[in-house]
Amino acid sequence: MSVLVCTDLNVRFRTDYGEIQAVRDFSLTLAKGECVGVVGESGSGKSQTFMAMLGLLADNGRATGSVKLDGQEILNAPRSLLNTVRGSRVGMIFQDPMSSLTPFLKVGEQMCEGLMHHQGLSMSAARARAMEVLELVRIPDAKRRFNQYPHELSGGMKQRVMIGQAIMCKPAVLVADEPTTALDVTVQAQILEILEGLKAHTDTAIVMITHDLGVVAGICDRVQVMYAGRVVEEGPIDDIFHRTRHPYTQGLLRSVPGFELDPTQPLAAIAGQPPAPDALPPGCAFAPRCGYVTPTCATTVPPLAVRPPAQRAACVLEALP
């Protein structure tokens, strides 16, 4: 049973220099309890995709398509409806825990206010749930932490609080937007462990937005790889890592230590830069950087071609036998 179904999501921004399309034809079906990784470089549109779903785009952003949560359309829904979804049925965690908590409110107040608002609970009832959650995200000395201000917590602690406040209402979906990027490596591992624990012990489906394939490998069931606003490859985790179809994914894997396709080869960066969003090449956006480029690539935008059982890749080479 899928909790979140997103079909043909497109996100555009009006800017001084005309319209820029940040996300193109993004589709995703998220099952209960599943963990999907969305991988891409910065600027690939991965964060904006989920911002758009929840109505958190900047003022100049517009989204089209369809996003259904438990069968209910939420894309571009009125704020009153979105506010019953956000924080209640969909929780979010952001990249920078340092600045993502309100500095002048106590940790406990921030954790409880969502639950109190969504479920009409009293402070003491919400506090009981917060204590539960603080244990779940492995914050020792929860009673003391509850009454502290964010600046009194370390970065890792703050990110745990962020996770905690996102799951206060037991959401059906948890969107984690680069949850480990701003943290030390050791702390990253702890945060991932907490998320893995959530996956194992709750029904919450997790979307893991990251640029780090290492993060994806540890926790995700499926992966979508985005490049220049478009999904270029998607499939079960094993297929993506071991039967990689798209040259961009191959490039990404080659550039991650520990995932080299051939361990004797040196790590390789992908040559060139991702295209500017208002100056995409007419054909495949990756063509200028691709080692397998063919003449067709410059003119055709390849569709996502199915490679059974469940893998799909958007590359002209897929059409070849």
Partner: protein, 309 residues
């Protein structure tokens, strides 16, 4: 906290001393003395010499400064030159309550209306309502008080005969309305603009995105998560602004004939009544320093991050 306040007050003492010395030197360096006007007249030069001696003006500047400082410690700001028989302390004691009542009322009105305007405009950013409120604010800032004040007096005093156009009336509400309005209009404008800018600035912060992602209604996002951070620039503005209005709006007191110290200051300056000018300047400087301290204490309440010191 207490040690912080004490430390700040200790720093304040040399600042005030420096201001006293500085303004004393500027004033005494001026060509001509307070009794110059009479010198050309038919007053006996001996009388003038006696006057100068009585006010210690015949002594060297260093001695004058020393005597002045000595008086200052005991709260004695010296005698007024122009108003014989009145001390500067008396003049300030009479005028300051008037200026303070007037000024604080104006700041209060400005703060309440200005912040409401600012929050309203920020919530409706780039809409017609926003532009309307901001144009009004700009009008408040751009039209000088000495233009609004006479027009207010003309309309409500002379034509409609609703309110008195001059006089203090011991601070009666009727007498306060026009001067407070004239004084508050620019404050409303400035505070509305600061509030709007600060609200928009804060609304782009990551923690506001978090608050929205929690599905909190807009009212909670604004009043609980945004406004408190937005208060910081408003508080910064209020410190000096309060000191400014409490020591009297020179212009408004002049136009409405109010017995505040702003008027005493200008009269003092015109009559070369230095002790009055000095006294009011020192009062203002002290107020500024105290208010800056209060401002910093408020910052600590608003932002717990500053508290750890």
């Amino acid at each position: 906290m207490l040690s912080y306040i004490l430390r700040r007050l200790l720093i304040a003492i040399p600042t005030i001393l420096l201001i006293v010395v500085l303004s004393f030197l500027i004033i005494t360096a001026a060509p001509g003395g307070p009794f110059d006007a009479q010198e050309g007249g038919d007053i006996d030069p001996e009388i003038i010499a006696n006057l100068r001696a009585a006010y210690n003006l015949d002594k060297p500047i260093s001695t004058q400064l020393f005597l002045y400082m000595k008086g200052l410690v005991t709260g004695d700001l010296g005698p007024s030159f122009a108003f014989r028989g009145r001390s500067v302390s008396e003049i300030i004691a009479n005028g300051f309550p008037v200026s303070a009542q007037l000024g604080l009322s104006a700041i209060g009105v400005g703060l309440v209306i200005g912040m409401l305007f600012g929050v309203f405009a920020a919530m409706r950013k780039n809409t017609a309502a926003d532009y309307a409120v901001m144009s009004l604010s700009m009008t408040g800032i751009a039209v000088p008080t000495f233009v609004t004040a006479p027009f207010l007096a003309l309309i409500f005093g002379l034509y409609l005969k609703l309110l008195p156009i001059a006089g203090w009336g011991d601070g009666a509400l009727r007498n306060m309305i026009l001067p407070v309005t004239a004084l508050a209009l620019p404050k409303i404008g400035v505070i509305a603009r600061i509030t709007r800018g600060a609200m928009l600035e804060v609304s782009r912060a990551n923690h506001i995105r978090t608050a929205r992602s929690k599905g909190l209604p807009e009212s909670i996002v604004i009043w609980r998560h945004t406004l408190r951070a937005a208060l910081i620039p408003i508080v910064s503005y209020l410190g000096p602004a309060i000191a400014g209005v409490m020591t009297g709006s020179v212009i408004i007191e002049q136009i409405f004939g109010l017995p505040g110290i702003g008027r005493s200051f200008v009269e003092g300056a015109l009559n070369r009544d230095y002790p009055v000018v000095m006294g009011i300047t020192i009062l203002y400087a002290t107020l500024i320093i105290v208010l800056n301290l209060i401002t910093d204490l408020i910052y600590r309440v608003l932002d717990p991050r500053i508290r750890k010191d």
